[in-house]
Symmetry: C2
Subunit: 370 residues, 2 copies
Amino acid sequence: MAKEGKHYAKDSEVVEKLENIGKEILKQIESQKNPSYNIPIRTLGNIFFDQKSGTIKLGDKTSDRQFLNVAHSRKFMQTVLVAAEIRKVIEQKATVSIRDLYYALKHTIEGTQENTFEEQSESDPVIEDIEASLDLLREELHLAASAKGIIAGDVQLRDGSDSIDLTKMGSGGWSVPSNVEPENIEFKKVNAEYVLFIEKDAVWRRFNEDQYWKKHKCIILTGRGQPGRGERRLAQRFNKEYDLPLYVLTDADPWGMYIYSVIKQGSISLSYSEEKLATPKAKFLGLTTLDVEKFKIPKEVTIKLNALDVKRLKEMESYEWFQKKEWKHEFSNMKEKAVKLELEALSKKGIRFITEEYVPQKIKNEEFLP
Amino acid sequence: MAKEGKHYAKDSEVVEKLENIGKEILKQIESQKNPSYNIPIRTLGNIFFDQKSGTIKLGDKTSDRQFLNVAHSRKFMQTVLVAAEIRKVIEQKATVSIRDLYYALKHTIEGTQENTFEEQSESDPVIEDIEASLDLLREELHLAASAKGIIAGDVQLRDGSDSIDLTKMGSGGWSVPSNVEPENIEFKKVNAEYVLFIEKDAVWRRFNEDQYWKKHKCIILTGRGQPGRGERRLAQRFNKEYDLPLYVLTDADPWGMYIYSVIKQGSISLSYSEEKLATPKAKFLGLTTLDVEKFKIPKEVTIKLNALDVKRLKEMESYEWFQKKEWKHEFSNMKEKAVKLELEALSKKGIRFITEEYVPQKIKNEEFLP
């Protein structure tokens, strides 16, 4: 039985919040005040790791964006334009990409040579401002994030009017949609003991071909590299609503560790919505460089760390949430041996070593990093 | 009713072909000859555009790879190793990625300091040699290519023991597998009038959200940028087996044109198997820079060509298969106006302009480039 999920805003509530931006500004104008809009500051100085929720969070510093301030007025105009366009999109019952939104709003302001937006890099932060200030998810604003993940397992769900059975996806798998909020994706049956989050889709295909999800009663999910919001949110929902453990399987390199870090604690750039995306209970299954000895992996398939790896490794070591003895052990081993390791390297031990020995053994013995 | 497809080699036939490599070499050794293996030359000089099939093809020049030739012996060894490993993979009834294959074969040769392979860039061309020399598809060798496409439409298919209904994929879509050969993917019902091949997945999602495939009785497919073998082969199968027209929808830029070119004629790097991947009857639906005037697309959403675009455009203009008056017209317009255009730019005309006006109108009026 699913636990109660967080409440997600209805379209009408979102529209109301967006309209309130306009109403507030109108009120300011009518009382002859300088129109302004208050937004949370999203720079590093206002971001922290919240021990209680186990996620990265945005602090409570805010700033006023004022219309009658030469440094602010362009951004002020853009904020109002984006809010108005999102309202229009919601009323058309559509979902658009942030690139669509940029193009829809780009125009030359009448009587001037000036464009509302020059690049998408101008409209994206404005969207984030609105998300953060209204405490809404991008999905609630009907904006589609890129989603590239694939999933399979004994799960039945409803997506719009379609009943979808994730046991019957053949060799392809179900392509994870951009919006997996309960309003769009309703779980009907979740018959699994854990979720395995796999970094690479080529490795996911090995697990799918071997029907690992059926043999081991689990859900297999990949985000094809750094996962998108859809994949992370889906993993969070399985964890929160069904208490399913989430095990993360990545390369043994600083980039794999970072993918784990984002799945577990969240990312700095999305700090304002990480409580709704991250899965603090996630555990790191592997690979680790410590596995090389434990599983007698031939040295030939390890790769020397390069300068960029070493730099990135130092960054990982400095993160507050990696200050745990198990991680320190792994970091120091990686530095000492100066090697990294890809998931595919396990093929050296046999094509099915990863699905038949490595992963099952790690899970059975609960050999995880925290 | 499906037309007869090309015959694809059974596992036993493939194993036999692989074993024959070894038997031939053994025979040479027994008769005290210098062991050698004959492979087609895959350089530009041996590649041509075949007017008859409408695809890029490999010529008939070959070269001998000899064991007792210092310049060849490493590659000779690698060829034999790869052939032997592929045989092993097939006998284990598995499919592996080319990265898996590289790692599986990488080892230090006993009594030396030398590795069989240093980088995957050494094993990949050897795989291509074997594909080309045995006239086999990568899929027939049980090697998985990366597949990142998504598909939806009124199609029922069988994939292993799963019956898959592509009308019931919700907002996600079915993730296209790496191997879509008739032995793996059997079409059970194809109720569509054409296939729409969309460059970008964000745009595909707009078509899927609007249930374009249902309203217009078609199949919508994306390869997320440059499509993989799976997506191209799937499009080819719908075209060959069901006579479905294939319409390609890309950005109006040299990169979009190249994607179309690969879907239609094939690529130089895969010349040896393009007859099995390309769809010469494909038609280019859009975007074109000529659409800017025709559809009154505001100038603000066009993008200036940069130096790289201009260079790439020159390359496109030089291709034999683009020597058609319609393309010359488009090329010269793109040069004259010096602009390009993204699919998302159509959002300027309204969120659903692309699904409700642009594409339907182009198809109705058959406004295609050849």
